[in-house]
Every structure is written in C-alpha cells, then in structure tokens.
C-alpha cells in the first residue's frame, strides 16, 4: 500500500435535484412530446438511470422552430443589443451562481472528473456568455459593416464530450447577434442542457429565444433539415458532418461544422520536458480523450525519445482513474457503451497492426464504462491508430528527425483541427506554426481554451470558426 493513500473525497450530489422525467423546452416552457416517446439517460460511471428524457419527433421539432421563429420576429431581433446583452450577462451570472450544481450534474451525466467540470467546463461556460454579452451592442465594430443583421433561427446540434460548454459555444454568439435557437444536446448527455433551460427561465429570457429539444440522430436530422431553419451549426463526428453538409447544400442555410481531429503534439529535443509531459497527458487524457482537438498523435524528436517516453510512463503511473465525482480523480468514465466498444476495437486493430500497447497498472471499476490510459509505441503513419480518430484515452507515438519531417507528418492527415509545439526556441514555434495546417496551434501548452480565441478546423475537421470576433460571422448575415 502506498504511504500517502488519498482517502475518497467525493463531491456531494446533494446540490443536484433531478426530476424523474423531463419534457422538451419549447417557447419558454417544458412540455411533453407529441408522440410521447422517451428514453433513459444514465451515469456512465455506474450505469445508474438518472432520469427519463423526451424523444422529440418531427412534430416537436416543428413546434420548436415555430416558437423560435415567433420569438425572432416579434422580440429578439427587434431588441436593441444593449438589452440582449443584459440577458446574456444575467445568464452568465446565474451559471456562476449555480456552478457547483452544474459541475456535479455534468460529471454525473458525462463521466468526466469533477475537477475538470468544476475548473474547466463550467468556468468557460460562464466566460463565453460574458464574452458574447459584451459583443451584443458592439456588432457594428466587429468588421462586418455598419449594422450587421442576424440570420434568423439557428438549428444547433452538439456533442456529448463537453455538453454544457458546447451549448455555450453555440448559444452565446447566436443570441448576441440577435438570432434565436433550437438546440439539440447529445442523446447521452441531455441533463445540463435541460438545467440550462431552467436558467433561461430564471433569467426571464423571452419565451422561444432558446428552445431545447432532446433526442438522438433522428431528432437531429429533423432539426437540420427543417425548412424553417436559417442556420445550422454542428459539432460532432466527421461522418455526420458530411451528411449534414449534403443535406444543407441545396438550401439557403448557412452552415458551420466543427468535426473530428487527429492532432499532432510535437515535442522537440529542446522542449521543457517536464511541462511537455504534462502537455502530452493533458492533450490526450483530459476528458478521457473525448476531445476533438485531442493531441492523439505524439510526435517526438528521436534524440529525446527515450527520455520523453520514460518520463511519460512514470507520469502515467500517477494518474488516478475512478469515480468522476471524487475530487482527486484525473481520468473518469468513457461516455457510453458504444464509444467504449469503438475505443476497444481500434485499440485491438493497433495491436494487430504491430504497434506496442502499454497502460499503467490501474484497476478499472466493475460497473460502468471504463478504459485505461493507453499508449501505443512503434506506430507508423500507415497504422489505422495514427489516422483514425479514436476519441478515447489512447495515444499513438511516432518519431521524427527534423522540423521539416515533423511538419510533413503532422499535416499528413485528413483532419486539421489542432496541433501542439514544444520547444524553447521561439523562432521554431513561428516557423512550425506557419506551416501546420490546423485551426489552432498551441505552443508549449495544449487544450487551452478561451472565449476570445477562435476555434475551428481545416480539411475534414470542418469549417467556420467559433469563439472570438471570428465566431460572430457564423451568426451574422454577411
């Protein structure tokens, strides 16, 4: 037994009061679905059923779009930016006030460690609303002309990896620009979006400005193909993104897509090794690797390969996997059985293709969906685990010899969402950054998010930018 064994330090669930079942949030009120279909939402860490959630059908989508249209035409688009800003500021403050509750709820429904939902997700949610609240009355200074117009009703579909944060990325700029929204959270993580619906009520947001409809793929399809939608925003898999792009192509709908990634995290021989190791860990094991911009391909300069790998293995030995609500947990649960199956499958492919698999000693809980932090070495560009997005805590390690080779390997992927560079040499950072085809390039850090910074992809990682001044463009008629 370890000398200094941290005793369990669970965050209390008492701050969260769950209802047995949730309706759809349409026109400012919770209402049952038309055809009465529902599904259960669980905690992926224990498989405990948390609540029953309505599955919205086409008629419900239609009601939501109509409510959003009405709010757009009669209230929100007419309201001066200074007034819209007040609502956004109010929402931001309520998120801060209810931060602990939202963090616990997020960890319960998603499986991510409370340390992350408490210190990263929820503070960023509030920050996004604060940031875009500031833009609402300053749109004429955004660089899109004197009085840029909103688009109308936005249909937004978000993923399960950062449920409330992705909601904030979508809703805050849309509302700031004067649009109204119908948002569908992912089927496995609807609860914080439904809590957000309550926050809209609490903030006295005019009915219909925000509508939240729950459901799975069918509901999402009905939403993005609805003729009453002016703008579609989607974050999720490249496969679904392509389908949405095809559906929107023959319409007037404006579309932004934020899709998959296979980011290179590039460590040079003169890197600050200890911090680079932290960056590697943060790059791929943050949020169990359920991050579209995860640093899933580690590129290490050959001259420091053994040093970096030894340090990385030692560091992984200290990762604490387990109860997402324990304040000392570093790695939580995989979000769903389906995702776990996919991670397992690709990891087996990695082994079959000849890469060497390693995980630190680590006990996995019996119930729930779990996968140990895993590192593959001896990976080449031809391996599937170097090309396909695994979306789990699985790192593929490759090596390079020169900066030019690092650029070539980093760019040799159908994706282009993010990249990381680790070196003490400023000129090398700039040289690399200008050649990497990735929407975000982090230097001596990784997975750093800020509402002022635009985020988005190259190639199959999607198009359009979210965050910052750039993020306004997606919701303005420009």
């Amino acid at each position: 037994m370890a000398k200094f064994e941290y005793a369990p330090a669970p965050e209390s669930r008492a701050v969260v009061s769950l209802r047995e079942s949730y309706g759809l949030f349409i026109g400012g009120e919770f209402a049952p679905g038309v055809d009465g279909r529902a599904f259960k939402t669980i905690s992926p860490a224990t498989e405990e059923v948390l609540a029953e959630v309505t599955e919205a059908g086409p008629a419900d989508v239609d009601r939501a779009v109509t409510a959003a249209r009405k709010a757009y035409e009669h209230t929100w688009a007419l309201m001066p930016g200074t007034e819209r800003a007040k609502y956004l500021f109010r929402i931001a403050r309520i998120v801060q006030e209810r931060a602990r509750e939202l963090a616990v709820l997020e960890s319960l429904n998603n499986g991510k460690p409370i340390r992350e939902s408490r210190d990263v997700d929820i503070p960023l949610v509030a920050a996004h609303f604060f940031y875009y609240a500031g833009w609402a009355d300053k749109l004429e200074y955004a660089g899109y002309g004197q009085a840029p117009r909103p688009l109308g009703v936005a249909g937004q579909v978000i993923p399960w990896n950062f449920p409330l944060l992705m909601l904030a990325w979508k809703i805050a700029p849309a509302l700031a620009c004067g649009n109204t929204v119908v948002l569908k959270p992912a089927e496995t993580t609807p609860l914080t979006a439904l809590a957000f619906a309550e926050i809209c009520q609490q903030a006295d947001l005019p009915p219909g400005v925000v509508n939240i409809i729950t459901g799975a793929g069918e509901t999402g399809r009905a939403l993005v193909t609805h003729p009453g939608i002016d703008k579609v925003a989607f974050t999720g898999s490249t496969e679904v993104g392509k389908e949405i792009a095809r559906a929107c192509a023959p319409t007037r709908k404006k579309l932004t897509l934020e899709l998959g990634g296979k980011a290179a995290n590039i460590v040079f021989e003169d890197a600050p090794i200890d911090q680079a190791v932290e960056g590697i860990v943060n790059g791929i094991f943050f949020n169990q690797g359920h991050v579209c911009c995860a640093g899933s391909r580690l590129l290490v300069q050959e001259s420091v390969y053994s040093e970096v790998m030894a340090a990385l293995r030692r560091r992984l030995g200290t990762l604490r996997l387990g109860d997402p609500l324990d304040k000392n947990t570093d790695v939580g649960a995989i979000n769903s059985a389906a995702q776990l199956a996919k991670i397992r499958e690709l990891s087996q492919v990695g082994e079959a293709e000849g890469a060497e698999r390693w995980s630190p000693p680590c006990d996995l809980p019996v119930k729930g969906f779990w996968f140990p932090p895993t590192v593959f070495t001896g990976v080449s560009q031809a391996h599937r685990i170097a090309r396909e997005e695994i979306f789990g805590p699985v790192l593929s390690v490759l090596t390079f010899r020169t900066p030019a080779e690092a650029v070539e390997k980093a760019n040799n992927t159908p994706y282009g969402l993010s990249a990381g560079i680790w070196t003490d040499k400023g000129s090398l950072i700039l040289w690399m950054a200008s050649r990497l085809r990735a929407g975000v390039v982090w230097a001596n850090t990784f997975n750093k998010f800020d509402p002022t910074s635009p985020f988005g992809g190259y190639k199959e990682s999607g198009y359009g930018r979210e965050g910052g001044r750039h993020g306004l463009e997606a919701y303005l008629d420009v």
């Binding site: 340390r115 003169d270 890197a271 200890d274 200290t318 304040k327 000392n328 001596n444």
Partner: protein, 312 residues
Amino acid sequence: MSALADTPTWSDVSLRAFLHGLPGVDQVGAQARAAMLASRSIKTTAKQWALDAAISMIDLTTLEGQDTPGKVRALCAKAKRPDPADPTAPMVAAVCVYPDLAQVAAAELDGSGVHVASVATAFPSGRASLDVKLADVKYAVAAGADEVDMVIDRGAFLSGRYQEVFDEIVAVKQACDRAHLKVILETGELVTLDNVRRASWLAMLAGADFIKTSTGKVTPAATLPVTLVMLEAVRDFREDHGRQVGVKAAGGIRTAKDALRYLVLVNETAGEDWLDPRWFRLGASSLLNDLLMQRTKLATGRYSGPDYFTLD
C-alpha cells in the same frame, strides 16, 4: 544528462555547458502543474497521516537577532513534545538556529532524536570571505550541529561563476565533516525556474545532501512551483547518479493546508521515497501550531483556540 556529470573535474565552461544543457522549465506550465496538485483534496485518514508526517518533517526554526538561550531552550522543549496535551503527536525533525546557539540546542536535544541544525556561511546573505564562511561552519559543527544549512553565493551564480559556487559547496561539505549539508539556493533571488533547476543540479553535483529553497529572509520564499522544480531535479539526479538528495521547503509555509499541498507535491513528483523526514523537510515556525490544531480537530471533531497550543 549524465555523460558530462560523471567527469571528475569541472570548469566554468563545462559547468555552464552542462547546466545550460538541462531541459528548460516552462514557467506557465510549471505553475499550472503546481496549481493543479494544490487542488488535491486530502481528507480523513489521508489527512491524519499527512498532518503527522508534516509535523515530523519540520525544522522548527528561530533565526532572529533577538534569539537568546532561553528562547532556544523553549523551542527545543516544543520540538521534543509539540503537544503537551497529546503525547501521540510526533516530534519534529530538527531545531534550526544560528551557530552561536547551536550548543544550547545540542544540550537540550541530546539523546532526543531531534536533530540540531545550524545555519552557517554568513547566513543569510553569504557575503563574506570563504575563510569566514568555513570558520562559521566549523564552529557550528563543533558546537553540536549535525545539520548545516549553508547559503550559496547568489552573486557568483547570477554572474555565471558556477565553478566558484561549486568549489565553495565542496569546501563547506568538507568542513561539515559528518554533519548533513543543506544547500540554500535562495530561489527568491534566483528568480527564474531555469535558474532554480540549474542551481539545484549545481548543488547536487557538488555534494549537497539536501537542497533548500530559501533563507526565509527574502520574499518570495518557498513556493509550490519552485519546490516542484527542485523535486524534479532530485528525482532526475537520483536516476542519473544513483544518489538520493533531500529537499527542504522553507519560509512562508504557515498553515496545515499549505503543508499538505507540499506533501502532495512530493508524493506526485519525486515519489513516496521522499515522503520521510530524512528526505523532505519543512522549515517553519508558526506552521507547527496550525498542524497541531488541525490534528486535534481531526481527533476530537472540535476546534480549540490558539491559546490551547503553546507559543514558544
């Protein structure tokens, strides 16, 4: 890292090449890591263990111009029996005083198991001739100090005269005879974390048994990021040289919560081999009473006031 380190003789040039060849420290990253570890939640049984461990790692310190034999005797009594109301409270590791009072402390602590530490080498500035510094060390050791806390010549270090710093540590180590040598880097004057890493390696290469953050006379004194970098240094040094060097964080650590954060840092950076008074120390004075107060709270479920703990 190891090739040059094994060469028996050094020069300013080779020391510079070696120290500047160490991996850099990214300050933002180091601070973020220290902050993340500071958010660990230490409860119940873990807290119980950690509070006692922290007490047993304290170098109970008085380094004031107004120190007297009476003050030192009182401190020694406290060191041997920190909580008169609770004999299960562990002893501290050492009492740390100026050389002229080492004899008083040695007499009081004789046979108790509590070590006698004395600062030396023209503490805290280190601005004296080498002869004076060595005489200071010999005087402290002759008076009964079995641990010597020296200061490095920060001026020489900052102007790149690494050989001079190195030679001085070697000479002091020799003068220490069998006493343990703690080398104070005074990180508040070195300022950058790169300097902290280089000074740590320099001290270890020259034979330090411990590397210590601060004198306590300069602000900032011990900080979590600085201690993190020093813990990384001793961890890497043992891997390269097979010799384990201790770390002492000193100055500004006043609350039990702070102390527990340092223990977490040790645990998750250098590892549990260092979670022992032989390898990790906390230089402090007021910290002890807060640890005792938290210890009593954990045992009884109630907070008692500061008047229930002795002030010495």
